[in-house]
Amino acid sequence: MFHRESGVFKTSYGADMALYPLPIAKWTVVILALIFVVIVPLTVHEYYLSILNLIFIAIVGALGLNILVGYTGQISIGHGAFMSVGAYTAANLAVKLGLPFWLTLPAGGLMAALIGVIVGMPSLRIKGLYLAIATLAGQLIIEWTINHVPAISGGAQASIEVGRPNLFGFTFNTQGRLYFFLLFFAVVAIVATLNLVRSRIGRAFVAVRDQDIAAEIIGINIYRYKLLAFAISSFYAGVCGVLYTYYFGIANYEQFQLIVSIDYLAMIIIGGLGSVLGTIFGAIFVTLLPIVIRIFMENVGSLFFTTAEMANVISGLRLGVFGGLIIFFLIVEPEGLNRLWRNIRSYFRVWPFSY
């Protein structure tokens, strides 16, 4: 944020790692809360709320993936499958046992964490490409299992319909109400991640990422921390899957296929690996990109193309821009949107006296 930090002097490491780096940051949080809790839901059209809802869900999943990829340096191309594990766990519990969301949600997360640890086992022996492909195999095997075990999938349709979340008789059944439901979990996920990464566990993750041998020498049990990273990351993914389930009103494994895993990877790459703020930017960016391109083309493209051509152009352009941006960020700005944000911030921090 655009804080002027003059006059603040930190005297301990603890102060430097505090959640609020400056006293004024508390006010920023209050203002942000005011915007998102009061102003946005009151003033913004339901359509934009629905986009925000999708972004909130994406933030939860992307944060989880960033803990694994960005902070711990492991890789997973199977996060879509972990989401489906969470989704089916929650849907089965909600339908068969009639449990409310505040029980199914953590249950879905825990089940995903368990499966995540199993899929993450190969990380104990291998890394890099091999791990990537092992998790890819995990994705396909989980999909196959769900598709072929009716006890999990609820029949040949492999989809289980779930009622809207309900709390003390209040049903979250419109976009406006779901907005608060999802906002709550997105905020919890953000705060939890911020605290996690500055805790002992988070620092251990970073140590494993930066130099695993050194980490082991200074007494970090890298096996345990790698599996822990997989567990935590899959927990987030599972929760993300549960949120999708409640948001769509249905659990269906076809909603969580390989392409979803890749989209989430794109979010954290574009946003910035190993950065919470970057993850948020990435989730926003990847969700908004197709929408913005389409709206842009609907308004501008009609000058150059007929309607019939345009539909194809929009589609091709969207994929092309999406891929192009991934490449662009990797080459030009490996630290992603987060770095751009910091550049902008440091520019304004000294503005107008930049020299």
Binding site: E46, A58, A156, A158, S159, E254, Q255, I291, R318, L319
Partner: protein
């Protein structure tokens, strides 16, 4: 650095302006239709032909003055066969005041069923989606409008029976794409196997189904069925044609469900000449011999343009026209019922539920949509590859309707 930051700010500002400026006001006498497509995802071969068909029919209607004086504006959103963009598309349609929307894709339909009901906007899911959505009481705002996978299964068995005479003691192989959509007709087929006394064995093709040598070998050299029913998607129908042909199985003893039945599937398998005898199931008419298609061609010529080449792929193109025609008819009924006033989505739903006797010169089946039956009867035709083109061999029929109705009733009782 300064210039760098500035240029980024500039880009960001432009984006925001454009995003905000997105929704414009529209004219008084205009109806908005939403259309979801997959032009870039795994089923792009369908969307890139079907959606132009939809647009062309709407353009034709508009060029003739619209529906009862209302121009139609189509908003198309390509969701790439992903679910979150389909949700976003629905919300966008809702914001723009769409009176109905065309859905695309089984998982997308599943995810939207509930939203359609909450928002009271009708959505059509022709030839895909859940079969039980035919029940208008259970899913009041979802309209399959064409034969569901259950109806297609019933029709396939009926066609096999016609080909083989009696099914008692015969062997039928069901070669299906290993996903929920592929498995959906299984209960119908199993039921019919018991009732008709034939033996049924299933062979799964896992996605993406680019190779199925082993399954075809299993079918042709071990099981040796009298008839094969295939239910495949994407690239796999053409692979099945090629493999079956390669193993010398007579293609005249094969019938494909609606998504394995397009010209492009046969062309990709090596051209029409290769697939002689292949039977395809259709929920819309095939070929160019329809007045409405000639009108569309005339419309293009009148504008001094050549008709688009998508028109040559008549199976999917005509399905686009089929969907558009039903959408327009629903709107027409709604406007008439309100004596010319602008219909709400609720009115259009009622309009859809009173569609009857719309045939468009045979492009549409004699379907009849009611508040209880959103499938319109589950009509299909069988077209066969003969002499290098698709020829109609069996006109509109409903196969084994009682079995399907029994299953619908059982399903409704369950929920």
């Amino acid at each position: 650095m300064t210039r760098f930051v500035r240029s980024w700010l500039g880009i960001a500002a432009t984006t925001v302006t454009l995003a905000v400026g997105g929704g414009q006001a529209f004219a008084q006498k205009e109806l908005v239709f939403g259309l979801q497509c997959d032009r870039t995802g795994p089923t792009a071969n369908v969307g890139t032909v079907l959606c132009p068909g939809y647009h062309d029919y709407i353009a034709l209607v508009n060029s003739k003055g619209g529906v009862e004086g209302y121009k139609i504006k189509v908003l198309e959103i390509d969701h790439e066969y992903k679910v979150p963009p389909a949700i976003e598309a629905h919300e966008r349609f809702k914001k723009e005041g769409a009176v109905l929307e065309g859905l695309y894709g089984t998982p997308q339909t599943a995810a939207l069923n509930k939203k359609l009901e909450e928002d009271k906007i009708l959505g059509t899911s022709p030839g895909f989606g859940t079969a039980s959505a035919a029940d208008g009481k259970r899913y009041p705002y979802t309209f399959p409008i064409a034969a569901s996978y259950w109806s297609q299964g019933g029709a396939a068995v009926a066609f096999a029976k016609e080909k083989l005479g009696d099914l008692k003691g015969k062997k039928i192989a069901y070669l299906f794409y290993d996903n929920p959509a592929g498995k959906e007709p299984l209960p119908i087929l199993e039921d019919l196997a018991k009732a008709e006394g034939f033996e049924l064995r299933t062979f799964a093709v896992p996605a993406p189904g680019l190779e199925m040598g082993a399954q075809i070998l299993d079918i042709t050299s071990r099981y040796k069925p009298d008839f094969i029913i295939t239910h495949l998607f994407g690239r796999s129908p053409s692979v099945s044609i090629k493999e079956l042909k390669g193993k010398g199985f007579p293609l005249s003893k094969v019938v494909a469900f609606v998504w394995g039945s397009a010209e492009s599937d046969i062309i990709a398998a090596g051209g029409m000449g290769v697939a002689e005898g292949y039977n395809t199931m259709q929920f819309a008419g095939v070929g160019k011999d329809f007045q409405v298609l000639k009108d569309i061609e005339a419309m293009y010529k009148a504008q001094g343009k050549t008709p688009p080449k998508e028109m040559d792929s008549t199976v999917y193109y005509n399905r686009g026209v089929f969907i558009a025609a039903l959408h327009v008819e629903a709107a027409r009924n709604a406007i008439k019922a309100k004596a010319g006033a602008k219909p709400t989505s609720e009115d259009v739903k009622k309009g859809m539920e009173s569609i009857k006797g719309l045939t468009l010169g045979g492009l549409l089946p004699p379907l009849e949509l009611t508040a209880a039956d959103h499938e319109g009867g589950g009509w299909v035709q069988i077209w066969t590859v003969k002499g290098g083109k698709l020829v109609k061999v069996k006109d509109w029929f409903q196969g084994n309707r009682p079995t399907i109705q029994k299953h619908l009733a059982a399903d409704a009782a369950k929920s």
